[in-house]
């Protein structure tokens, strides 16, 4: 048998064996059989001295070519096996099976809502400021133009501690604290807990949260207030929401307004949530009353400002369609995990 034939036979044999493999393991066995140190190809090299002198060069070249060819074939086969084995595996998987669940925790919906509200105003340049929940009667009432013997106090039922100390019934005393320490211009937003002795039911809680805002400078107008709250409503309730300002009375602002947003449940057509009005009251606002400025030593002829305040629970309830305020304080994980 000629040496050419011998190479040819090894080549055919090897290629057949390579093509017959179905896994990388089998392929590796074939590779070892032919290309390892003691493999068939190495054996051919060892036989080189026994070859007739005139055939030696072509035989040598032939072995090298064979080695190269087998390497190529092995690579091709391995690529093929890899690409096919991938698809075989996919067929075996039942992807309708649920994945093992690894829960992350969630923020409380009130924290979330409060943060969203503050973020809207932060982007307008407001600084976030916090203040104490145990307050003086002066900061909570007198400085905010709510005198002791005035019926306007009736809307502010308050928990008292003793002497002149109480639990703040709104976040507005933080306005006083801030203005006592900072001169205009400034714009601040104040998130926090407030307390009012209300019997707990689906729409009342003796503890709830508010976000308060205050902007003071030498040229702040009611038109600016409208702009800020339009921007807020659009960011918080969506760009399609409408806003309306109704005159109202608050001791610490004048002019004062209650602000309604078009009902997001019925798009203003009237439903149970908005008592058929198409509007939902979401906040109180107005121009800072000159008496409040006087209480903190700011000249009301030189400066003007607006203030607003909103209940976080109410906004969260409207946003998420929650119909019972008590859910926020029961902390049922099945409730919390929905947000």
């Amino acid at each position: 048998m000629g040496s050419e034939d011998r190479l040819k036979r090894v080549e055919e044999e090897a290629i057949r064996e390579i093509d017959a493999t179905t896994s990388l393991d089998e392929l590796e066995t074939v590779k070892i059989k032919y290309l390892s140190r003691k493999g068939i190809v190495s054996q051919l090299f060892k036989d080189l001295p026994n070859i007739q002198e005139d055939e030696k060069p072509s035989f040598g070249k032939g072995i090298n070519r064979l080695k190269e060819l087998l390497n190529q074939e092995l690579k091709q086969r391995s690529d093929k096996i890899l690409s096919e084995s991938g698809s075989e595996l996919a067929e075996a998987v039942d992807i309708t099976m649920p994945a093992p669940r690894r829960d992350i925790g969630v923020l409380h919906p009130i924290t979330k809502t409060m943060k969203e509200i503050c973020d809207v105003f932060s982007h307008m340049g407001f600084a976030v400021v916090e203040g104490p929940e145990i307050e003086t009667e002066y900061n909570n009432f007198e400085a905010l133009n709510i005198p002791v013997d005035h019926p306007s106090r009736d809307t502010f039922d308050t928990f008292y501690i003793k002497d002149k100390w109480l639990l703040r019934s709104h976040t507005s005393p933080v306005q006083i604290r801030y203005m006592q320490e900072h001169g205009p211009p400034f714009s601040i937003v104040v998130p926090g807990k407030v307390f009012r002795p209300d019997a707990v039911d689906a729409s009342h809680s003796f503890m709830f949260h508010q976000v308060e805002g205050l902007m003071v400078s030498d040229n702040i107008t009611f038109a600016n207030l409208k702009w800020a709250l339009f921007e807020f409503a659009s960011a918080c309730f969506g760009p399609a929401s409408k806003v309306r300002f109704r005159p109202h009375f608050f001791p610490f602002t004048e002019p004062s307004a209650e602000v309604d947003v078009s009902c997001m449940i019925c798009q203003g057509r009237g439903c149970r949530v908005c008592s058929q009005k198409g509007w939902l009251e979401i906040l109180g606002a107005g121009m800072v009353d000159p008496n409040v400025f006087k209480a903190v030593g700011i000249d009301p002829d030189k400066y003007s400002g607006f203030a607003f305040g909103m209940g976080v629970e109410r906004i969260a309830m409207l946003k998420y369609g929650i119909d019972d305020i008590r859910l926020f304080y029961e902390n049922d994980l099945r409730f919390l995990n929905q947000f």
Partner: protein
């Protein structure tokens, strides 16, 4: 205030549709909160704000509506046309001229008390009142029509004239609601020569009330000081339609016209004979002139109204206006709420229409948070982020608790802040710890079949210290397992989960190392209570809650938790990060497993290994702890992994083996460890 649409229309010289009227009033600051059809009429419920006492009447509301709609207001005539009696006017003496600036009394003789005519019954019923008799119904009718409260006495039951004076301490009166009330010296009363016959502005006396047998009456119409009436009503916890109006302020100059209106109605309905009026005190309100600067008005509102437009609005509201670039404005006597320029600006804005004012962005103004407060808020955000990503749910619990919860949780009561006026026992005291709230949340969920519960709360706690009220941010982290795993297995115990959570939190907050030290605490199981120390100061406490305590909260299972002084934590946290170059050479490790006396702590062992291994020991990991019968009593088995790495080169096997051998020998020699 309830307003009947049909009744209201008597005062407006045109027909305004109910829906239009409703939205017109709402947009002028008198919100119609509901409207209800009733007997072919519509009853509006109008929220009258506390400053607008002038709108607590039909004429008041009609005046607003006609001003906005530019229609004519029709006030019924109150001129007395019927027969007059020659009866002697009664003597009125006002002792308290500040609390009672004006008091009018009118005698009406020969009245026939009986059922009211149909039209009057209808009016009274539309206000939700029960008709009593014609005299009482007329006084109520005029109260609602004009806003001026009136009172009718049975003249024959009065002894002598009337005196408006302060009560004497201990004086008593039975009011028309048949309750005997003890009066105090600060309360204004109407008295005859013997005793109190009415609590001024609040409620009349039973003894002198008008009954079926009454022949002659004394009709009172007065102005009482709001503060005096408010204090009396509050002290007696007695509110009436009268006190509601007096404490908000009635029209001093409307006192007599209301009396006239009632008298003529009484004369018409009961055939009584009206006598002359005794009108004592101030007749005219001291008029105020308010300076209004149109430029300032436009500056505050952000609009451009002309002087004429401003004047027109104010005149429609019955204000007297003089001047132009600087106006002199005199409000009508019924507008007690308008005393300042700001009040006038609101009036103009209200009638001009808030909706007409165009939104306008303010000139850009960015306020910087104080660095401290900004950082603190950021640290709270990071804490919430870390804990939620570790699977803990944020809870919010009430800041007020019942005292029983504090006792149940074996928490100290020292410095606890009490609420003076709680509505229920659930709001008696302010919490000094977040743990009771966490336990309540756990109970709530566990009793609803939750198996494993991981919660945290970052909120304020409150305490009194040296007469100062303090509030501090606190952080509670709690983990509940229905089947307690306790400390039986190191890597499965809730306590170590909590410790691990605190470790990660501290790392992310850029904290110095916190030391954990065994301690004792009434809340926690004795051997499983850990104090957290930062620079030697107590930062917080951690442990497994005592089972007897859990049973007080009805919790079946195991709870481990920690409570940390968050303010102290945040104060020592440094958010600034610096990049550390990444290691250039690979690490190698050796595992060491040994039995050792149980009283030797991991901390001691780890610091020995670090010392012995020097720079090349990058870190040590605890693989497992074994306690049980396969080991000598008093001993435990530990497996640790020591990770070696050099900054300069790849360590050879030989180099590592040398240190490893030294460490193993050291463990045997210094700690009597049995290597395995």
């Amino acid at each position: 205030m309830k307003i009947s649409y049909e009744w209201l229309r008597e005062y407006i010289n045109t027909k305004i549709r109910a829906d239009n009227l409703s939205s017109l009033l709402t947009m002028a600051g008198h919100e119609v909160t509901s409207q209800e059809e009733k007997n072919k009429d519509i009853i509006f419920d109008i929220e009258v704000t506390p400053n607008r006492s002038d709108c607590l009447s039909y004429i008041g509301i009609a005046r607003e509506a006609s001003c906005i709609a530019k229609k004519r207001l029709m006030i019924p005539p109150s001129k007395i046309t019927s027969k007059k009696s020659k009866a002697k006017p009664i003597k009125v003496s006002i002792e308290e001229k500040i609390a009672c600036p004006r008091y009018s009394a009118r005698v009406i003789k020969d009245v026939h008390v009986g059922q009211s005519p149909k039209w009057l019954i209808k009016r009274v019923e539309s206000m939700g009142l029960r008709p009593v008799n014609n005299i009482v119904d007329i006084t109520n009718f005029v109260l609602f029509e004009t806003g001026q409260p009136l009172h009718a006495f049975d003249l024959d039951k009065l002894e002598g004239g009337v005196t408006i004076r302060n009560a004497k301490d201990g004086e008593k009166i039975i009011t028309i609601d048949e309750v005997e009330r003890e009066l105090r010296g600060s309360m204004l009363i109407i008295a005859d020569s013997r005793k109190p016959v009415a609590i001024a502005g609040v409620m009349g006396g039973k003894e002198t009330e008008v009954t079926e047998t009454t022949k002659n009456i004394l009709l009172e119409s007065a102005y009482f000081d709001p503060i005096s009436i408010r204090r009396t009503a509050l002290t007696l916890s007695l509110a009436s339609d009268s006190s509601y109006r007096f404490e908000r302020g009635v029209d001093l100059e409307g006192v007599v016209s209301a009396s006239d209106r009632a008298a003529s109605l009484i004369a018409d309905t009961t055939k009584g004979a009206i006598s002359a009026l005794t009108d004592s005190g101030i007749k005219k309100k001291e008029s105020i002139n308010i300076n209004l600067r149109p430029a300032y008005l436009n500056r505050i509102l952000g609009i451009k109204l002309s002087v004429e437009e401003i004047k027109d609005i104010l005149k429609r509201l019955c204000f007297n206006v003089k001047g132009a670039s600087s106006m002199e404005v005199t409000p009508p006597s019924f507008r007690n709420d308008v005393t300042r320029e700001a009040d006038l600006i609101e009036e103009v804005a209200r009638i001009y229409g808030y909706e007409t004012i165009k939104p306008q962005p303010p000139s850009i103004m960015v306020t910087d948070e104080s660095p401290g407060s900004k950082d603190f808020i950021k640290k709270k955000d990071i804490t919430r982020e870390v804990l939620t990503s570790l699977g803990f749910n944020e809870t919010l619990t009430y800041s007020l608790l019942s005292r029983k919860v504090i006792t149940d949780a074996s928490l100290p009561e020292e410095g606890i802040i009490e609420i003076m006026n709680p509505l229920s026992r659930e709001q008696e005291v302010m919490r000094q710890s977040l743990i009771p709230g966490a336990l309540k949340s756990i109970y709530y969920n566990a009793s609803r079949q939750a198996q494993d519960i991981k919660v945290f709360e970052l909120s304020d706690i409150y305490f009194e210290k040296e007469s100062i009220y303090n509030e501090e941010q606190s952080l509670v982290i709690a983990e509940y397992a229905k089947t307690g795993r306790s400390m039986t297995s190191y890597d499965d115990s809730e306590l170590f989960h909590i410790k691990g959570t605190v470790d990660i939190l501290c790392e992310k907050l850029g904290m110095k190392t916190i030391e954990f030290e065994k301690t004792s605490h009434p809340l926690f199981v004795n051997d499983e209570t850990v104090g957290m120390l930062l620079d030697g100061a107590m930062l917080g406490i951690m442990g497994r809650i005592k089972p007897d305590l859990l049973s007080k909260f009805d919790i079946k299972g195991d709870v481990s938790c920690c409570e940390i002084n968050f303010k102290a934590l945040a104060d020592s946290s440094i958010l600034k990060k610096f990049y550390r170059p990444l290691p250039r050479f690979p690490f190698s490790y050796r595992d060491v497993s040994f039995a050792i006396d149980s009283n030797i702590s991991y901390k001691e062992l780890a610091s020995f290994v670090k010392r012995e291994g020097g720079m090349l020991v990058e870190r040590i990991e605890l693989l497992s702890e074994y306690r049980g019968d396969k080991i000598k009593p008093g001993q435990r088995g530990l497996a640790i992994r020591i990770i070696y790495r050099s900054k300069e080169k790849t360590l050879t096997e030989e180099e590592i083996n040398n240190i490893d051998t030294a460490i193993r020998e050291g463990l045997t020699k210094n700690f009597n460890a049995t290597l395995r």
